[in-house]
């Protein structure tokens, strides 16, 4: 499968990454190579094999339903570019 310029720009947009025309051309080639390698993996017959999403042979650890965290709003907004009254402040987003 060949990745074209439009797909590169679509992915870049979804990931909120700005790419120059020159970068897009490079990425086209690189992403195409990666996908070709993945296509090679497709040659292995995996029917009946569960997809492996983790290398650990255990299942999820769980927490009790107890309030053990929170209560430090100043810390939460400390690194924000802009803040007011313990809120994060961002450019207006409204529908």
């Amino acid at each position: 499968m060949k990745i074209d310029d439009g797909t590169v720009r679509h992915i870049a947009r979804l990931a909120r990454i700005r790419v120059t025309d020159a970068q897009a051309r490079t990425l086209e080639g690189e992403l195409t190579t990666i996908l070709q390698w993945v296509e090679q993996l497709n040659e292995v017959d995996t029917s009946g094999v569960e997809p492996m999403t983790s290398v650990m042979e255990t299942t999820a650890t769980m927490r009790k339903d107890e309030v053990t965290d929170g209560g430090y709003p100043e810390d939460i907004v400390k690194n924000a570019t802009e803040k007011a009254d313990q809120f994060f402040v961002v450019p207006k987003v409204v529908e």
Binding site: K64, V67, G71, F88
Partner: protein, 493 residues
């Protein structure tokens, strides 16, 4: 087969009938003390960003750990929806950017949800039963909240809600009218509240719905749908569907095509409009969240939760109908809220006749509760007081008309009904001599009407009204009728 084109639900038009097809996604906030993957609190209305852990704010290096109670709540809900519970489920990342989503993805469940197919039964007005299939229920994180009215150029973001557990309940496209959609959400809300898995508070956003609407000719393939996002009242769900179905019919009959898009319902205008953002965001690129291992539940865990389930609305409905022969729609209304059902059972347990108690509760009591806009449990008229009122009607101590006045007096004073009847002289006059005296007076005062009534027996009602007025509604209506007929020489009809 659920609900195929019942002709009553079709929308008539000059070009022929249209069938409305609706599917709903209900987002219900899970009742839990802490969030789905962190130990921060979930309480509504706290100071901004005061219930946020570093996990919820998506600080680098933080790892989510699942709250077991949220899993239990999802399983209980699945059992309540008569759905299949999946012992193994997987959390995925749903990727999109929005300022109130600090992670840049929502942790949700995609291909392996915790609950599979189920069913909800609706008892509609007029005795019709409608079955709505549930496709799935999955757990996911809620996003934070953006406030847009604080500043002309900026939005303010509060992450208190970020990471709170949500259940998304997805229906099949089995719903065929706005009324059914409303009944469906009402029923889901009722089941959740009985189970205690969601408080159902729609004003606070604990329960909200995305509504998928499309139109087709009866029996034809499904049409292109639009999705109306985030409606938080049952009334608005009805309005949004009514508007959107009319809009789609207009487009289709004008020779146009429906664009698959996300729309918003404007509560001020009662209209829907397309969201401005481009739907590129619909490319969510789901993949299993590498921070979380698959959830494995034991059969014993699920069985234990099943044993502890409370009696649910449908079981209550069956019991009320079997034990007391009540109408299915009345029962649906009675059991919709647990407090209401308990109140009704208290009335019947205290000796009120079931049918009479149901009518009285649904019309008189609920009517006043709704009119006053108070919570059901805050109504000042107790079940015991209502039992006493109905008993006095039954024994002929007071008339039906006086019963309603007495009810209002109890509401206002909080006094004992029997005491009020004595104090205010509300006792019904069954004494025929007293009634005869009033009847004689009225006939004497209205010779013209008395002369005509023989030819027109239907005007007898006017005389009954006069007598009731004169006796302040305290005369026994049967006695009044009999005496009037006798004096005016009108045969029993």
């Amino acid at each position: 087969m659920a609900n195929s084109a019942a002709s009553s639900n079709l929308i008539k038009s000059e070009t022929g009938d249209w069938e409305l097809v609706i599917g709903l996604e209900v987002h219900a906030q899970v009742t839990s003390k802490a969030k789905l993957f962190s130990g921060a609190a979930t309480k509504f209305g706290a100071e901004p960003n005061s219930q946020v852990s570093l996990v919820d704010a998506a600080m680098p290096g933080m790892l989510p750990v699942i709250n077991k109670e949220c899993l239990a709540q999802a399983v209980r809900t699945g059992l309540g929806l008569k759905a299949q519970v999946n012992l193994r489920s997987v959390f995925d990342r749903k990727n999109y950017f929005y300022p109130d989503l600090p992670q840049g993805y929502q942790i949700s469940q995609f291909s392996q949800p915790i609950v599979g197919e189920g069913e909800v039964v609706l008892n509609m007005e007029g005795g019709e039963t409608v079955r709505i299939g549930i496709e799935r229920l999955h757990l996911e994180q809620d996003a934070g909240k953006s406030l847009h009215d604080q500043d002309p150029k900026s939005s303010y973001v509060d992450l208190n809600r970020s990471g709170v557990a949500l259940m998304e309940i997805v229906s099949n496209p089995d719903i065929r009218s706005a009324r059914q959609a409303q009944a469906y959400v009402t029923k889901i809300r009722s089941i959740l509240r009985y189970l205690g898995t969601c408080d159902g508070n729609m004003e606070e956003g604990s329960l909200r719905a995305d509504v998928n609407v499309s139109m087709r000719r009866p029996g034809a393939e499904l049409g292109t749908r639009t999705e109306i996002k985030n409606i938080n009242s049952i009334r608005f769900i009805g309005q949004a569907i009514e508007y959107e179905s009319r809009r789609q019919i207009e487009v289709l009959e004008g020779g146009g095509e429906i664009t698959q898009e996300t729309r918003l319902f404007d509560t001020k205008t009662g209209q829907t409009r397309p969201m401005r953002s481009k739907e590129e965001a619909h490319d969510y690129r789901y993949f299993p969240d590498p921070d979380l291992l698959p959830v494995e539940l034991s059969r014993e865990f699920v069985d234990r939760l099943a044993e502890d389930l409370p009696e649910l609305p449908d079981q209550k409905t069956d019991r009320f109908m079997a034990d007391w022969g009540l109408d299915s729609y009345d029962v649906e209304l009675l059991v919709a809220e647990k407090e209401r059902a308990d109140y009704f059972e208290e009335m019947v347990g205290g000796g009120a006749a079931p049918k009479q108690a149901a009518n009285w509760l649904l019309n008189q009591h609920l009517g006043r509760v709704n009119k006053e806009g108070v919570a059901f449990e805050d109504a000042p008229v107790t079940a015991a007081a209502n039992i006493s009122i109905l008993k006095m009607v039954d024994e002929g101590t007071i008339s039906g008309k006086i019963a309603k006045e007495l009810y209002d007096l109890v509401w206002e004073t909080g006094d004992d009904p029997a005491k009020l009847v004595e104090e205010r002289g509300l006792r019904q006059v069954t004494d025929t001599v007293a009634i005869e005296k009033v009847v004689d007076e009225i006939i004497a005062a209205n010779p013209k009407q008395a002369g005509q009534v023989k030819a027109k027996p239907q005007t007898l009602g006017w005389f009954v009204g006069q007598v009731m007025q004169k006796t302040s509604g305290k005369a026994n209506p049967q006695a009044v009728n009999a005496i009037l007929r006798e004096k005016l020489e009108i045969a029993e009809d």
